[in-house]
C-alpha cells in the first residue's frame, strides 16, 4: 500500500507541472518529463495523466516559444490519443529554425500545424507515435508551405528512446524561390540509474534553397551530437539537480562553402520547490564551461574562432501556481534570460504563461 501511495505521489508530482515556461526555467534539462517533452518523445504522454495544456503566444509566432499552441490527451483503456494545435517544429520555423537560414526576404513557418499522437502500454513498455502535418497554399500570391513528420518514442522501465523523422519540409513563393528540407532525423536514448540519468542524442537536418530562376542558393546540412548526465535529488516534493554534457555541432553550407563547428561542455544546476501548497518556484543556472569552442569558416577564410568563447552564464526562474487540477506556469521575466534586469515587479512578473489542466 505504501509503495502504491509513493507511486501516486510521484505521478502527481510529475503531472502537476507542465509547460514550456517550466522547462525553460529548468534549463531544458534532459531528465525532465513534461507536456513539452512529448514533442520530442511522444511516449512521455503515457506516463502523465490525461491533460489539456495551452501555451500563450501570438498566432504568427516569432521567437522560439512565442507562438500560441495547445494539446489535449485522452486515455482509452491502455492506449492514449493526443491532439496538438499550433506547435512549431524547429526544422520548419522561419524565425528560429532551419527556414530562417534560407535567406528569403519572405518566408513562412508552419501554418496551422496539427499533430496526432497515439500511444499504448504493452507489457512493461509504453510506446507512442505522432504524425505532424501542416499545409498552406495562397493561390493568388503563389505561396506554399507544407511539412510532415513522424515522431516515435518508448519508455520501458529505466530506459527511454526516441526517433523523430522529418519527411517533408517545403516552402516556396514566386519572388524568392523554393526551400526544400532534407529528411530530418533525431535519434536519442536515456537511462536512469537511481539518481543519475544519462542520455545521448544525434540530430541531422538540412535543406536546399533555390531562387525564382531555379539557381541553387543554399545547400545546408547540420549534425548535432550530444551526451549528458544529470544527477537529480528529490525530497519532500522538492527537486534539486545538476548535470553536465558534451555537445558537438557541425554545420555546412556548400554553395557559399561555409562551415561551422562547435564543441562545448554545458554545465547546469536547477531546482523546483513547492514553496507553498499552491506555489511552485523553479530556477536554473547554465554555463558552457571550460570546453567552449566555435569556428566559422567561409572557403579558406576563418570568420569566427573562439576557444573558449565569451560569457554564456544564464539564470532562468519561473513560478507555477496550482489550483486543484489546474496549473498556471510562467517565467519570472525579470529574472530569466541573458538580459535579465533582476527585478520582480508589476512590469516584470510572469511571462510565457501556460495553463495545464489534469483531468
Amino acid at each position: 500500500m505504501k509503495k502504491v501511495l509513493l507511486v501516486v505521489v510521484a505521478l502527481a508530482s510529475t503531472n502537476a507541472f507542465a509547460t514550456r515556461a517550466r522547462v525553460n526555467a529548468l534549463g531544458n534539462s534532459p531528465h525532465l518529463v513534461d507536456t513539452q517533452t512529448v514533442y520530442s518523445n511522444p511516449a512521455d504522454m503515457m506516463i502523465m495523466g490525461d491533460y489539456v495544456t495551452m501555451e500563450t503566444g501570438t498566432t504568427a509566432g516569432g521567437a522560439e516559444g512565442a507562438n500560441a499552441e495547445g494539446m489535449v490527451t485522452r486515455s482509452m483503456g491502455d492506449s492514449k490519443m493526443g491532439l496538438s494545435l499550433g506547435h512549431q517544429s524547429k526544422n520548419a520555423s522561419a524565425t528560429w529554425g532551419l527556414r530562417a537560414l534560407a535567406g528569403f526576404a519572405t518566408i513562412k513557418s508552419q501554418q496551422n500545424p496539427v499533430e496526432f499522437s497515439y500511444g499504448m502500454k504493452t507489457a512493461d513498455m509504453n510506446w507512442a507515435a505522432t504524425l505532424v502535418y501542416s499545409n498552406y497554399n495562397d493561390k493568388v500570391a503563389s505561396e506554399k508551405e507544407s511539412s510532415m513528420g513522424i515522431r516515435t518514442g518508448l519508455r520501458m522501465g529505466a530506459l527511454d528512446a526516441k526517433l523523430n523523422i522529418g519527411l517533408t519540409n517545403t516552402y516556396e513563393n514566386a519572388t524568392d524561390g523554393k526551400f526544400k528540407g532534407n529528411m530530418g532525423l533525431t535519434a536519442g536514448a536515456g537511462y536512469a540509474m537511481d539518481n543519475l540519468y544519462v542520455s545521448g542524442a544525434v540530430t541531422m537536418a538540412g535543406f536546399k534553397a533555390e531562387n525564382a530562376a531555379g539557381t541553387e542558393t543554399k545547400d545546408y546540412s547540420a549534425t548535432e551530437i550530444a551526451a549528458s548526465a544529470v544527477s537529480s535529488h528529490k525530497k519532500d516534493g522538492n527537486e534539486f539537480f545538476y548535470g553536465a554534457g558534451l555537445t558537438s555541432v557541425n554545420t555546412k553550407e556548400k554553395v557559399a562553402d561555409s562551415k561551422t563547428t562547435q564543441l562545448y561542455l554545458p554545465v547546469w544546476m536547477g531546482l523546483e520547490v513547492d514553496a507553498a501548497s499552491w506555489l511552485t518556484v523553479r530556477g536554473s543556472v547554465t554555463q558552457k564551461t571550460l570546453i567552449n569552442s566555435t569556428k566559422v569558416e567561409t572557403g579558406a577564410t576563418t570568420t569566427t574562432e573562439t576557444a573558449p568563447g565569451a560569457n554564456s552564464t544564464a539564470v532562468a526562474v519561473g513560478a507555477g501556481m496550482k489550483w486543484n487540477k489546474l496549473t498556471l506556469d510562467g517565467s519570472l521575466t525579470g529574472l530569466s534570460g541573458a538580459a535579465a534586469n533582476q527585478k520582480v515587479d508589476g512590469t516584470n512578473l510572469l511571462g510565457q504563461v501556460g495553463v495545464t489542466y489534469m483531468f
Binding site: H233, K235, D236, N238, F240, Y242, V267, M269, G270, L271, V273, D274, A275, A276, L279, V281, G283, S284, V285, T286, Q287, K288, T289, L290, N292, T302, T303, T304, E305, T306, A307, P308, G309, A310, N311, S312, T313, A314, V315, V317, L332, G334, L335, S336, G337, A338, A339, A340, Q342, K343, V344, D345, G346, T347
Partner: protein, 380 residues
C-alpha cells in the same frame, strides 16, 4: 531536546539567507555570515549548508564605472551578472561549485581600467571575466575548519585576436571565535593582438594579495581587520597608458544584538586607501571612518525585512587627489555619504527569495519598484 531545537533553529536560520541582495541590504557588514562570502571564505560552506543559490542578472556583464580614477574600492557592477552556486556535503567536508561569479577584485581592477579608458577617451574595450568558474573545498580539522578555493576564467577569440584569463586562489581557516582568510590573485590578463580592430591594447594585473581576519571579543562584539594590495598596467596601442598600484587597509568593530529572530547591529571602522597611477603621476588617498547601523527582522514567519544606513563620520573623512604637483581634489571632511540600503526576504519552507527594495534613493514601494537584484536560495 532544547539544544536540538536551538541547533535546528540556528541551522535553518543560517540556511535561509544567502544572496548578494541580502549582504548589500545589510551594508556588507563584516560580521555577517552569508553564502555569498564563500568566494573569499570557503569554510562558510559548512555554516550555510547544502544549498543551491541562483542570482539573477545578465549574461554579458560589462562595466559602467566611470568618474574619478583610480578608485580602488568600487566593484559595484559585479552584482549585475547571472550566477549560481551549489554547496554539497562530501562526508564531513563541503564541496562548492559556482558558475558565473565575477570576482570582486578582478572586476574592480578592470573597472578601474575601464574608467581610465573613459576619462582618456581611449578605444579600449576591456572585458570582464568570461564564464568564470569557482571550485572550493572545505573540511574540519580538529576544532578548526579549513578551506580553499580556485577561481578561473578563460576566453580566446582567435579570429578577433582577443584574450582574457584569470586565476586566483583563496584559503581560509576558522575556529570558534576567529577567522582568517588569504586571497591570492595569480593571473588577471586581457589583451588584443595585431589583427584586432583595436590592436595592441592590454591589461595585466599585478599579483594581488588580500589578508583579513576577525575575532569575536564577546558573544555580541566582533572585530575585524584586513589588508589588500594590488595593481595593474594597461596599454593602448602598445603604449603604456596606466600603471596603477593600490593598498587598502581596514579595521572595524561591530556590536550585534540578536533577539527573537531579529538582529540589530551597529559598528564603526577605519578605512585607509592609497592608489597611485605612475604614468600620469596621479595619486589618490583617503581616510574614512564608516559607521553603520543595520537591522534584520523577521516581520513574520515568511517575511524578513532588512536594512542599513551607512555614513562616513565627518570627523575622519578625507579625500585627496593629486596630479603631479597639482591638487585636483581635497576634501576633509567630505560631502554627504549617507546611504540607505534595504531588502526583503520571502521564505517558503526551504526556499528563500531575497531582493532589494527602496534602491538607489527611491522612497517608493509600488508595482514598478518592488524587488530588485533578486536571488533565490534553496537549502536541501
Amino acid at each position: 531536546m532544547k539544544k536540538l531545537l536551538t541547533l535546528a533553529l540556528v541551522l535553518s536560520s543560517a540556511s535561509a539567507f544567502a544572496t548578494r541582495a541580502r549582504v548589500t541590504a545589510l551594508g556588507n557588514s563584516a560580521h555577517l555570515t552569508d553564502g555569498s562570502y564563500i568566494y573569499n571564505k570557503p569554510t562558510y560552506a559548512a555554516i550555510v549548508g547544502d544549498s543551491l543559490t541562483l542570482e539573477s542578472g545578465v549574461t554579458a556583464n560589462g562595466f559602467t564605472t566611470t568618474g574619478a580614477v583610480p578608485d580602488a574600492t568600487d566593484s559595484s557592477d559585479a552584482n549585475l551578472g547571472a550566477e549560481g552556486m551549489m554547496v554539497r556535503s562530501l562526508g564531513d567536508a563541503k564541496f562548492v561549485l559556482a558558475l558565473g561569479h565575477d570576482d570582486s577584485t578582478t572586476f574592480m581592477n578592470r573597472g578601474m581600467a575601464n574608467a581610465i579608458k573613459t576619462n582618456a577617451a581611449l578605444t579600449y574595450a576591456i572585458r570582464p571575466q568570461q564564464n568564470p568558474l569557482f571550485l572550493a573545498y572545505a573540511t574540519k580539522m580538529g576544532d578548526m575548519h579549513v578551506g580553499a578555493g580556485l577561481r578561473y576564467s578563460n576566453f580566446d577569440d582567435k579570429k578577433g585576436d582577443e584574450k582574457e584569463s584569470t586565476m586566483g586562489l583563496t584559503f581560509d581557516a576558522r575556529g570558534d571565535k576567529w577567522n582568517v582568510d588569504l586571497d591570492l590573485g595569480l593571473t588577471d590578463e586581457w589583451k588584443t593582438g595585431a589583427t584586432n580592430a583595436s590592436p595592441g591594447d592590454s591589461f595585466k594585473g599585478k599579483s594581488a594579495i588580500g589578508l583579513s581576519g576577525g575575532y569575536d571579543l564577546t558573544d555580541s562584539l566582533y572585530v575585524n581587520a584586513g589588508f589588500m594590495s594590488g595593481g595593474f598596467k594597461m596599454e593602448d596601442n602598445s603604449a603604456e597608458v596606466a600603471d596603477v598600484e593600490y593598498t587598502n587597509i581596514n579595521a572595524g568593530i561591530t556590536e550585534s544584538i540578536k533577539k527573537d529572530g531579529t538582529e540589530f547591529f551597529y559598528g564603526a571602522g577605519l578605512l585607509s586607501t592609497s592608489a597611485k597611477e605612475k604614468t600620469s603621476d596621479s595619486k589618490v588617498t583617503s581616510l574614512k571612518m564608516p559607521l553603520i547601523i543595520g537591522l534584520e527582522a523577521e516581520a513574520n514567519s515568511w517575511l524578513v525585512i532588512r536594512g542599513s544606513v551607512t555614513q562616513n563620520l565627518l570627523l575622519v573623512d578625507s579625500d585627496k587627489t593629486t596630479n603631479g604637483a597639482t591638487t585636483a581634489v581635497e576634501t576633509a571632511p567630505g560631502a554627504n555619504s549617507t546611504k540607505l540600503a534595504a531588502g526583503a526576504g520571502l521564505k517558503f519552507n526551504k526556499l528563500t527569495v531575497d531582493g532589494s527594495i527602496l534602491a538607489a534613493g527611491s522612497q517608493v514601494i509600488n508595482s514598478a519598484n518592488l524587488l530588485g537584484t533578486v536571488g533565490l536560495t534553496y537549502a536541501f
